[in-house]
């Protein structure tokens, strides 16, 4: 018989090993995770490897195709597209991740509270309906109009607009998460293990953290991955409408929509940001899929 402490240590370690083992067996998730890491490293450390200034205007080299000097070509002002992709990726990725985290937090919080506390269910779900019924673009437009200058003066122009974008996307995209989570919480709340936990006097807070949340992890995981994609796309749309980051400030969405004007002459210019967005979204979706399976002990080891 082994010593119990040894077994316990073993247990907590092997639990995460189990998760990793299961994750590894999901090939799509592994490729997705690899790809996502490459993109993250690329946009983070890219500026040191590819030292051309993304805002440097070389008017004689405008509208060039791919070459050794400019692997992704240049735009109509002669700016290097690769450098702009790297810089734009930083913004797009961070907006995507932070906005997703915010939306996820809001959605999970509201969903769990609505599902768990019967009295708050009605009001919170009507609030969710209200947000779902709001036309998104006009709302964002109003928010940008109202808060752009205030936030810019507090955080500086770039950080200000970043905060604005993240908040705007975050508080307009938590509703699907909230609905899914609420539904699952309602179902789990009636399971007997919750009654068992209640009968030993578990507090509401502990009940939610230990019993409810781990069991609604799967839908949260899925909406998280979809959320990143959604946030990147929303940010692109906003930049396109001139509501997002300033025109000279590259993001993937901005680059994409700048290139649309030249779609007929230089179709490759639309491809780079388009591919970047699609691959990121795809990679994240696969990672989410793999994580969901890996975190579910029922699927694990199958």
């Amino acid at each position: 018989m082994t010593d119990i402490t040894e077994i316990q240590e073993n247990a907590s370690r092997s639990q995460w090993w189990d998760v990793w083992d299961q994750f590894k067996s999901h090939r799509g998730a592994l490729i997705g995770a690899g790809f996502f890491l490459i993109i993250v490293f690329g946009v983070t450390f890219g500026p040191w490897l590819w030292t051309i200034d993304p805002t440097y205007i070389d008017i004689r080299a405008r509208n060039q195709g791919p070459s050794f000097a400019h692997p992704f070509g240049t735009d109509q002002l002669g700016r290097d597209t690769l450098a702009r992709m790297i810089k734009g990726g930083q913004t797009s990725m961070s907006v995507g991740l932070v906005a997703m985290a915010l939306a996820l937090f809001l959605g999970t919080f509201i969903g769990v509270v609505a599902g768990f506390f019967k009295k708050l269910d009605g009001p919170l779900m009507r609030l969710t309906d209200l947000f779902l019924a709001l036309p998104l673009l006009p709302l964002l437009l109003v928010m940008v109009m109202l808060f752009r200058d205030t936030l810019s003066s507090i955080f500086g122009p770039e950080m200000g607009i970043f905060v604005l974008m993240v908040t705007a996307i975050g508080i307009t995209s938590w509703m699907p998460t909230a609905r899914i989570v609420r539904g699952d919480v309602l179902a789990i709340k009636e399971r007997e293990f919750v009654l068992a936990a209640r009968s030993i006097g578990t507090s509401n807070q502990k009940m939610i953290m230990r019993h409810i949340l781990p069991n609604v992890l799967s839908p949260i995981m899925v909406s998280a991955t979809l959320g990143i994609a959604n946030a990147i796309i929303t940010e692109s749309a906003l930049s396109f409408l001139g509501l997002g980051f300033p025109p000279d400030f590259p993001t993937w969405g901005r680059l994409l929509f700048d290139s649309v004007d030249y779609l007929q002459q230089y179709p490759e210019r639309v491809m780079w940001p388009g591919l970047a967005i699609s691959f990121t979204v795809l990679a994240v979706n696969y990672v989410g899929d793999g994580l969901r399976d890996a975190l579910d002990p029922r699927i694990r080891g199958r």
Binding site: M1, T2, I4, T5, I7, Q8, N10, A11, S14, Q15, R191, E192, F193, L195, A196, A197, R198, S199, I200, G201, T202, S203, K206, R210, H211, P214, N215, L217, P297, R298
Partner: protein
């Protein structure tokens, strides 16, 4: 030892509101004026068909559903609690002393927690152990008692069979060191061979730790195997209550007799005299007048429709609630 009874109830009722208007509130009487005494260290069985209020009675005794009227007291020699009024720190303490084992071992364990965490949870929530080592030691001790392998502790519930899961459930109920355990249809979801295993486990644990069990079941053979005393419930009332042996040898109430006649016999020559009960159990929202059983009773008379029969003691420890039990018994003999 002041009182030999651990649990005493007096006209205990549980009602649920099921809508209706403000002036005409509709209530469902799940448990209707039940008075029982559960002696300390006994294995008390409660039987009855679906919808007779067995589960609600058990949960009311654990304070999991509110008691509408009547009294229930818990007295284990150390402490005394009035279960209808209990709250705050007393309720917390009572939670340690009274536990529930569930019917469905598949729903009763959180799929995301390891077995060790599931069993250790009551200890952590109630603050019974200070350190992790202490918790582990206690979990190990209980797991051994419930014949769980130490290797099992780090696995998740989905890896176990129904019987093993039920043992985990039992371990969780026992870990806080309770005096009183309500086992709610605890073997109904299991195979017959595993039922026997679990029943023997419960029995041995009860004898070893001196616990008091309230065993809720609809399976009379299971009850016969384990319980010392049996109460038969029908529509929220107790129709008959007696020591097991006596009840099985000499059932007085027509309902109890009908239940017994429905136990399948192992004798192939026995052509089966199962007495058929007509109809369904009446709806608890719209209960019949007089004796609750009169709609299905083969011996019904006028008085049964008008007056509710009292729970009469006919022998030591044997109580029956029927207007005609005396004459019916004479008929039996004749």
């Amino acid at each position: 030892m002041s009182d030999p009874n651990l649990i005493k109830t007096d006209k205990l009722s549980v009602e649920f509101n099921i809508g209706g208007s403000i002036f005409n509130k509709k209530t469902l009487k799940a448990v209707d004026g039940i008075s029982i005494d559960i002696p300390k260290g006994s294995f008390f069985g409660v039987v009855g068909e679906s919808g007779s209020g067995k589960t609600t009675l058990g949960r009311a005794l654990l304070n999991a559903v509110p008691i509408s009227s009547g009294h229930a007291t818990y007295d284990d020699g150390e402490v005394q609690y009035d279960l209808a009024e209990i709250n705050g720190p007393e309720l917390k303490d009572y939670r340690k002393r009274a536990q529930l084992i569930f019917q469905d071992p598949y729903a009763a364990l959180s799929p995301r927690m390891t077995v060790r965490d599931i069993i250790a949870e009551p200890l952590e929530v109630m603050g019974l152990t200070k350190t992790r080592e202490e918790t582990d030691a206690r979990v190990r001790e209980i797991a051994e008692k419930c014949r769980l392998n130490l290797e099992h502790l780090r696995r998740f519930p989905h890896a176990f069979s129904g019987g093993q899961r039920q043992r985990i459930s039992i371990a969780r109920a026992l870990v806080s060191g309770p005096q009183f355990i309500v086992a709610d249809e605890s073997v109904a979801a299991l195979d017959v061979s595993i039922q026997a295993d679990i029943l023997n486990l419960l029995k041995s644990i009860q004898e070893e730790m001196g616990l008091t069990f309230m065993f809720i079941s609809h399976d009379l053979s299971v009850v016969a195997h384990t319980c010392d005393h049996v109460a038969v419930m029908y529509l929220g009332r107790i129709v008959e209550s007696a020591p097991t042996r006596q009840l099985f040898e000499n059932a007085r109430h027509p309902y109890t007799k009908a239940l017994f006649s429905a136990i399948p016999s192992l004798d192939p020559d026995d052509r089966g005299k199962a007495q058929k009960l007509e109809g369904e159990i009446p709806s608890p929202t719209n209960q019949p007048s007089g004796c609750k059983f009169h709609t299905r009773c083969p011996f019904v008379t006028d008085i049964c429709k008008r007056e509710e029969p009292p729970l009469e003691t006919c022998e030591e420890g044997h109580a029956v609630s029927c207007h005609r039990w005396k004459e019916l018994q004479l008929n039996d003999v004749a």
